[in-house]
Subunit: 312 residues, 2 copies
């Protein structure tokens, strides 16, 4: 069974997760969650999104979040930006890395940002220039890369083409997003394999939602095709805007637990991540979908002092 | 990516699922659920368990269940039996197949049936004789095959040895049960590979619980190692007696949805199975864990008349 020795994980909970909550989470709670994640050994945290507060009120205090968190050495704090205004704000807020998004399907891109894919790619050129000037790396998400809520199947060739455009514009890495949790392992294996053939020198990240319970199966398939970077969301924060009640991103702790059980290193301390997941659950005030967390009683403070007792 | 062309699924919901409900489900509801499953294209249903009603009151009316259901041609109705008394009852109730269980770990076997593994294997010889006389095939489940709630890791060599004993006693098939949902894909790949080497002519079934969200990932790993038979539980019925609140068996409809998306045939009509999953949810009166079901609105009667509309 093919796996890498080590996997790098990006926790997107504070952004992709909290953005999908129906109510905006107070600043201090966002900061507390990000600080907790910073202490887990995770090296990448998608911290916030520099979007219009009218468009996405959940992310209204992006600059305050960046100013409020305690930055840990070795952790990359990533800010999502939709346009050049956002990029300037993100740079001013001293993010370590910028993330941009474009959809693989026209109708989803239209619904998401009211632009054509070509217009989005053109806009990304402006963001890329600002990033370059500021000396900040950026990476490009391709959302609906495995299927679109409006158009259904998405051509793999279309995904390849957009990935190549992003790489040519200067993306340090490409991330494929399974926005609606429709990807299946065979498809993942094929697309990841093709992308590594086409862009062998560009790091690839996979962003799976667990809407249909296939996220970890897709991770196995992606590793089999050579992938070693994945997104997760602490606790399984977030949902699927196209399927109320359905799961969001795969829970980071479920991903970490599986990888560790398989002997794949992540650098993450699972017990600390589980604590962050319980904190995430407190913050949103409802049970989250992460499975490992539900399989364990929350440890008491005394048990936390001797953490080996409750590591699954 | 290695997959079989076709997978055979056993739905264990009416037995493994309902047995783990805190209250006993009325006879007519059990019968309705089994009848619904019989109409989905599933060819194997673990229908009930012929155990002492004092030990497991949820299964008290096993004979009435078998007498009450509408048997579909082509469907194998399986009865679990713990001992010769149960085997006689199951044969009298005209089950098509008998299932027996033995744990791979002494402490779990002791907790489960208050016997040593050797005593359980000896008891199975008696059941095997009765089955042979009645002309009914039987298969042997090895529970805690991937880990034990009391002892932790279980030696693969121990699993091989028990599997061989069961085969020598006349088992038509061996089923490995991940009773506490602790199996990981690498382990599954290794154990399945070793078992096919050791017993190349004995059909193998895998029974995964989704306690830690790894069930479908384990299915991918098992298929990669040559497996083509899996258990599921409609709706994700059941739980984990060692982790209150945690998930039970993988939801059959999630398994079917993934396999179909990958182009692997199951013979199951997913839309009919989803209806059975919604029925299961009604019967137990609480939301079940199956993911595909939660990602979709339940169709109206009108939509059900044109089922293509809502197949995911």
């Amino acid at each position: 069974m093919k796996t890498p020795d080590r996997v790098t994980i990006t926790d997107v909970g504070p952004r992709d997760g909290l953005q999908n909550e129906s109510r905006a989470i107070p600043l201090d709670q966002k900061v507390a969650l990000i600080n907790a994640l910073s202490e887990t050994g995770l090296t990448r945290i998608e911290t916030t999104s520099f979007v219009s507060p009218r468009a996405i009120p959940q992310m209204a205090n992006a600059a305050e979040v960046m100013a409020g968190i305690r930055r840990c050495p070795g952790v990359t704090y990533i800010g999502l930006v939709p346009n050049e205004v956002g990029a300037r704000d993100a740079i001013e807020a001293r993010v370590d890395e910028i993330a941009v998004v474009v959809s693989a399907s026209e109708s989803h891109n239209r619904a998401n940002v009211n632009r054509t894919i070509a217009e989005s790619l053109e806009g990304i050129r402006g963001i890329a220039s600002l990033s370059r000037e500021a000396g900040i790396p950026w990476s490009g998400y391709i959302s609906t890369a495995f299927g679109c809520p409006y158009e259904g199947p998405v051509e793999a060739a279309r995904v390849m083409e957009i990935a190549e455009r992003l790489r040519d514009t200067g993306a340090e890495a490409i991330a494929l997003g399974d926005t609606i949790g429709i990807a299946n392992p065979r498809q993942v294996s094929e697309i990841v394999g093709r992308l590594f053939e086409r862009l062998p020198d560009t790091p690839l990240r996979l962003h799976f939602h667990d809407t249909r319970g296939m996220a970890l199966a897709n991770v196995i398939a992606a590793m089999g095709a050579g992938a070693s970077q994945f997104d997760g969301s602490v606790g399984g924060l977030g949902g699927c805007p196209y399927a109320p009640g359905a799961s969001g991103n795969v829970a980071t702790e479920d991903l970490v637990a599986m990888l560790h059980a398989m002997g794949v290193a992540t650098g993450v301390r699972l017990e600390a991540l589980l604590e962050a997941a319980w904190l995430a659950e407190e913050i949103v005030g409802r049970p989250l979908d992460g499975r490992v967390k539900r399989a364990l009683p929350r440890p008491t403070a005394g048990q936390r002092a001797t953490q080996a007792d409750y590591v699954p």
